[in-house]
């Protein structure tokens, strides 16, 4: 079997871990591959791409530390849910750097710029300063409308990492529970709940109610008269 055929077999779920363990993958690689076996509707080429991206490392140790600190400042644990790290945001950002290479220069350059600002201000790299100093520095770059002109590089960088952190957090199970998203499951849509309509002073007019689906009819096979009226 060539590699692609292997993957096809893996996709069908018939061989699974036995094959993977026999290829001599390290523990981390095995974990990644197991996730891929679960699959999410990938073509063989896409599986190979995900594997390739997962096997590469973009951030240096220091960069990863900085990203983790910043992500947790942007999305901290609060009374409702956990932090960016709890939701695996740094690993997600690491993946996106490889998946969308145009992020790489602004991210790496932005981190370096911030590290430089830290060294100039506190004589220490960003990862080594205490959290009150982290806050002091990012307050210079986190507010686009009031940041000084010389901080614009930092503002652009912080917009990027804010975007990635927010999206990385709220697209996880933790984030969904936090938001209260209750879809992505079989449902019977029968309109906006009555109490919500009342809150907004809205209602369905009679014509809408007459024309629209009666949920209880869903399983009845539709039939029409000659003029296209449902009977």
């Amino acid at each position: 079997m060539d590699r692609r055929e292997n993957l096809k077999v893996l996709l069908s779920g018939t061989v699974a871990t036995g094959f993977l363990l026999s290829t001599g993958c390290g523990p981390d690689e095995t974990k990644i591959s197991e996730n891929l076996i679960k699959g999410y509707g990938r073509t063989p080429d896409e599986i190979l791409l995900d594997q390739k991206l997962n096997s590469e490392l973009f951030f240096s140790e220091n960069e990863k530390k900085m990203v983790t600190i910043l992500a947790n400042l942007i999305i901290p644990k609060d009374e409702k849910s956990g932090s960016a790290t709890d939701a695996g945001v740094p690993d997600f950002i690491e993946f996106m750097m490889k998946d969308y290479p145009k992020f790489q220069v602004p991210m790496r350059g932005g981190l370096m710029w911030l590290d430089n600002l830290s060294k100039k201000t506190f004589d220490k790299p960003f990862s080594d300063i205490p959290s009150e100093h982290h806050v002091e520095l990012i307050d210079k770059i986190a507010w686009p409308d009031t940041a000084t002109p010389e901080m614009q590089y930092g503002v652009k960088f912080f917009n990027l990492i804010r975007n990635l952190t927010c999206t990385g957090f709220f697209t996880t199970k933790i984030g969904f529970d936090d938001l209260g998203y209750v879809g992505n499951r079989p449902n019977q849509w029968d309109g906006v709940p009555t109490d919500v309509l009342e809150k907004y002073g809205l209602s369905y007019d009679q014509n809408t109610l007459d024309v629209c689906l009666k949920i209880e009819d869903q399983q009845k096979i539709a039939q029409w008269d000659d003029k296209g009226n449902l009977i």
């Binding site: 509707g41 999305i75 986190a142 975007n163 998203y181 879809g183 109490d195 809150k199 869903q218 029409w224």
Partner: protein
């Protein structure tokens, strides 16, 4: 590459190239008539009911990129294998012109992920020249196509409401779903702007129509293809049923290079490259039906040069590849402050809009000749990659308990809370309009470039005209009226003349049609009114290539109806031994 072309053992009554809407319908109708049919698809097999292909009901975290569109053009879970760019399958553009060509290389083609908006063309749409003097009339009218629209409605299913609007003909509708919350706000805003809003018309089964297909369970993910077949795709509703009941054989990874003709100019079959072994094969057939998509069909015909067809197949008119046109499109987004801090409930609904606005004005009183319809979006959809972006510009619209705006950007618990608060409060709308087909907008064979299968590629020449630019400007004026009327804060700047008022590049709306248009005059058209080659009577085109003009309606329902009509004609002509 093998020197010798391999003969397939089998010959067929009909060879259909492409398995999208047109090819699928032809396969079904022709197979049901007892004909033997080969369906050639340039991509792989696909069935959303099979676990290995399923993206429906997956969560964003099942994708390492959380559904981002870095690999698939419409995101990781979208059911389109392909996109505007495909490795090894390039196309080119003439300097100073634009065209982006979307291809799905899979069984069912683009019908697996499409928006399911299923609008009939109206009587005016077939006769535009009669109204504004531009372009050409179709050689057929609404009455010719109506019986087929009726049959398509019943076979495939479409929800909608009977409205009695002359140019938006009613059909055999399933009941539409009730509007979502933001769609009720849209109705209010549109009413103030004097724009009608009616239930949308989508080919999604809100009620059961047969034993084979399930009903919609309201996950809003039709673009991921439905595992219970509750929406229309050609693979699930046409090709697979045809294969179960009739003599249909499917060839996947079969990239057709050319139609072969004999000395009298008749088609005898096709040559395709098998993408897996890179060898060429020949399939013989009494009738060849092209359904590869408007541009791919034109490409195959242009590449099918022979002694009897020196200018490409059925192309002594030189019209083949000409009159390529896409729908126009532009969009605007806004924040609806009323919906900040909204109560939570499952608002997924069907895959797409529950309401839309058909064209409502008279072009004779406007400075552009053709109309457009409006599509609306918003609501508490499933967060995916991109959710939570833009707090550096949007946070100002979230006010604190004293009504004071929050500064843009920021971080920390208050930012986290503001992302929660604004969830479900963004809305937007899109205009989708009719363009005027132009002789000078066309695709031809690039004399310098081949794809990885050695097949010469298409080169596109396409520029929008003032007609489309002015229409796009009007769309934006309408967006602002409706959005303001519903109490929304419009985001970003209104696009100006320097961007053609935000008009999307040709090809971006993925409604491209017209490359092998039908007509009564063989000097100005490629096909006759049955989509039969003027110069090759056993060649038919059943994709969007045959369109004379694309209305502001999405083309799929018309492709299906016309393919059915052409298929019946083929059966009739075979019975009469005319082919």
């Amino acid at each position: 590459m093998g020197f010798q072309i391999k003969e397939q053992d089998k010959k067929y009554d009909v060879c259909i190239v492409g398995s999208g809407a047109g090819g699928g319908m032809a396969a079904k109708i022709l197979a049901e008539a007892g004909l033997s049919v080969a369906v050639l698809e340039a991509g792989g097999d696909f069935d959303p009911a099979k676990e290995e292909y399923r993206t429906q009901l997956r969560y964003p975290w099942e994708s390492p990129r959380r559904g981002a569109n870095t690999q698939r053009a419409f995101g990781d879970f979208d059911a389109a294998w392909g996109g505007w760019e495909i490795d090894g399958e390039p196309y080119t553009r003439a300097d100073g012109t634009q065209f982006d060509w979307f291809r799905s290389r899979m069984l069912g083609g683009r019908t697996n992920h499409w928006g399911r908006i299923s609008l009939r063309f109206g009587p005016n749409d077939f006769k535009r020249k009669d109204q504004d003097g531009l372009g050409d009339n179709w050689p057929i009218g609404y009455d010719d196509v109506k019986p087929y629209y009726d049959k398509v409605d019943k076979l495939i299913g479409v929800f909608g409401s009977k409205e009695g609007i002359y140019n938006e003909p009613d059909g055999f509708f399933l009941p539409p779903p009730k509007p979502r919350l933001h769609e009720l706000f849209v109705k209010k805003g549109a009413q103030k702007a004097k724009v009608p809003v009616i239930p949308s018309r989508l080919s999604i089964l809100t009620r059961k129509i047969n034993a084979e297909r399930g009903v919609c369970f309201f996950c809003a993910q039709c673009n991921r293809a439905c595992q219970v077949y509750a929406d229309f795709s050609s693979s699930t509703c046409l090709v697979k049923p045809a294969m179960q009941k009739g003599r249909v054989e499917l060839y996947t990874h079969a990239m057709v290079r050319e139609v072969i003709t004999n000395d009298s100019g008749l088609a005898t079959g096709v040559i395709y490259i098998d993408k897996k072994d890179l060898k060429d094969y020949r399939i013989g057939a009494k009738v060849v039906v092209l359904a590869a998509s408007a541009c791919e069909t034109a490409r195959i015909m242009l590449n099918s040069k022979s002694k009897t067809h020196p200018n490409g197949l059925s192309n002594s008119s030189g019209v083949l590849g000409r009159y390529l046109h896409d729908s126009t499109g532009t969009d605007r987004m806004a924040v609806l402050p009323d919906l900040i801090d909204r109560p939570r409930y499952n608002e997924d609904g069907v895959g797409g809009l529950h309401v839309y606005s058909p064209w409502w004005l008279d072009n004779k009183k406007l400075d552009f000749p053709r109309g457009y319809h409006l599509e609306y979006w918003g609501g508490m959809g499933m967060p995916s990659y991109g959710f939570g972006f833009g707090m550096d510009t949007m946070r100002q619209y979230i006010t604190d308990q004293f009504g004071k705006p929050t500064p843009n950007g920021g971080y920390g618990a208050s930012l986290k809370n503001d992302v929660r608060r604004i969830y479900g409060a963004t809305v937007g709308m899109s205009g989708r309009g009719e363009s005027v087909p132009q002789y000078d907008n066309y695709c031809e064979i690039d004399p310098n470039t081949v794809d990885k299968y050695g097949i010469p590629v298409l080169k596109f020449h396409y520029k929008w005209t003032e007609y489309e630019v002015k229409q796009s400007k009007h769309m934006h004026d309408t967006f602002e009226k409706i959005l303001t009327g519903m109490g929304a804060i419009i985001l970003g700047n209104k696009p100006g003349v320097e961007t053609q008022y935000g008009l999307a590049a040709p090809g971006r709306i993925i409604h491209e049609v017209g490359t092998a248009r039908m007509g009564d005059d063989a000097k100005t058209s490629v096909l006759n009114k049955y989509a039969q080659g003027h110069e090759c009577k056993n060649l038919f085109v059943v994709d969007g290539g045959s369109f004379v003009s694309q209305a502001d309606k999405n083309p799929t329902w018309t492709i299906l109806a016309l393919s059915w009509r052409t298929s019946e004609y083929i059966i009739d002509q075979l019975n009469k031994q005319n082919l």
